[in-house]
Amino acid sequence: MTASAPAAHLAQLNVATLLHPLDDPRIAPFVEMLDPVNAAADGAPGFVWRLVEDGAADATGLRPAGENVIVNLTVWETQEALWDFTYRSGHLEVMRRRREWFERHVEAHLVLWWIPAGHLPTVDEALERLAELRANGPSPRAFTFTSSYTSAEAAQHLHPAPRTTRDARPARAGGTTAV
């Protein structure tokens, strides 16, 4: 109540390659956890937004990074809020069992970056940050939990790289309550 709203928010993308299709019984325990864990995210302190497919409850139907690759794109007020949700909520149980459902990634599968508060990242923008992390390692433009930067350190990197012209559309919020 004392602090004014922060000027920057933290965006997070992670990609996970499914070992089996989502409707395979071997993936069922993961699918069962989707709704409760997403509900926990929506109610978590510091949660701002998550990508949801139009007409769906989550983003697992979107496959922008490959046919068997699901993406999770979210925005948080602080890195601490994201960390606490990721590793100190019901989400940890999903993480613990990740080897049962997902391929082990050789490359980085999670990327964090700061965005101007109020901006909703697009999938393209998110995949670009992941590509940057994979190509150049952690930097203020694209980093990880263990190699993180403050929003002040990333102040000049809040916007997508200007080199490409993009037909930036607002992220598919789908009119859900998650916005």
Binding site: P36, A40, Y87, R88, S89, L92, M95, R104, T146
Partner: protein, 235 residues
């Protein structure tokens, strides 16, 4: 202050009892309360609590314990909590933490979660030895306290989080919650790997075919596991 000096501050028996009392509460403790709990005068307790704070073993702050604020609420009281800094002394010098971090990093990269959990479960079973599975929550508290988890019974009436979908609303059964993660530093760096290892260790320790079960239920600032009575209709 170096670790060895900070730890030496605990040599005084009154000071040590005060420290242990504050730690066991898991919340801010005022001078009066600590003095009463340990059975010493308030001024003596205040002196020792401040020594513990100077040594960096406790953190102090001030709080209006009445819950009121504004004029007439009274002077804020000094309160103490355990400091987050880890203190350790090893003679001769040993560095198991670096070893643990390197092994965890290698296991994470190689995706060895299943093998690590199997080893942890076996270790838990070995630690239990010939004993039958843990018989009740009080027994679990004792067993977990001995391993540094700082367990406490969280009683009925507490509300569960939304993620416990199989839990029906109503009076919650008591569970054992753990205030301390003995693997904290490594768990912070590799949470799914190390928290999974911890759960497997506790499953082995408590036994999976007895009246109790260990389950993951992570909360900020605590160990990720709770121990509860297993339900007959489960699985």
């Amino acid at each position: 202050m170096e670790d060895i000096d900070a730890i030496a501050v605990l040599q005084d028996p009154v000071r040590r009892r005060l420290y242990e009392y504050v730690v066991a509460q898991g919340r801010e403790v005022g001078r009066n309360e600590a003095a009463e709990a340990v059975g010493v005068a308030r001024t003596l307790a205040a002196h020792h609590l401040d020594r513990l704070a100077e040594a960096g073993l406790l953190e102090s702050g001030s709080r209006r314990l009445t819950g009121r604020s504004g004029p007439g609420a009274g002077r804020p009281a000094k309160v103490y909590t355990r400091a987050r800094t880890e203190r350790a002394v090893s003679l001769p010098a040993r560095d198991y933490r670096t070893a643990a971090e390197l092994l965890a990093e290698a296991a994470e990269r190689a995706g060895l979660d299943a093998g690590l959990c199997a080893a942890a479960r076996r270790r838990g079973e070995d630690l239990r030895g010939a004993q039958p599975p843990c018989g009740g929550l009080e027994e679990a508290v004792e067993m977990l306290a001995a391993r540094g988890y700082e367990p406490h019974l969280e009683g009925a009436g507490s509300v569960r989080d939304a993620e416990g979908t199989e839990e029906t609303a109503g009076a919650a059964l008591p569970v054992v919650r753990l205030r301390n993660c003995p693997f904290h530093a490594v768990a912070e760096r590799f949470p799914p790997l190390v928290c999974g290892m911890n759960l497997a260790l506790l499953e082995g320790l408590i036994g999976t075919d007895g009246p109790l079960r260990a389950r993951m239920d992570a909360r900020p600032g605590e160990c990720c596991v709770v121990v509860e009575t297993s339900k007959n209709n489960d699985d």
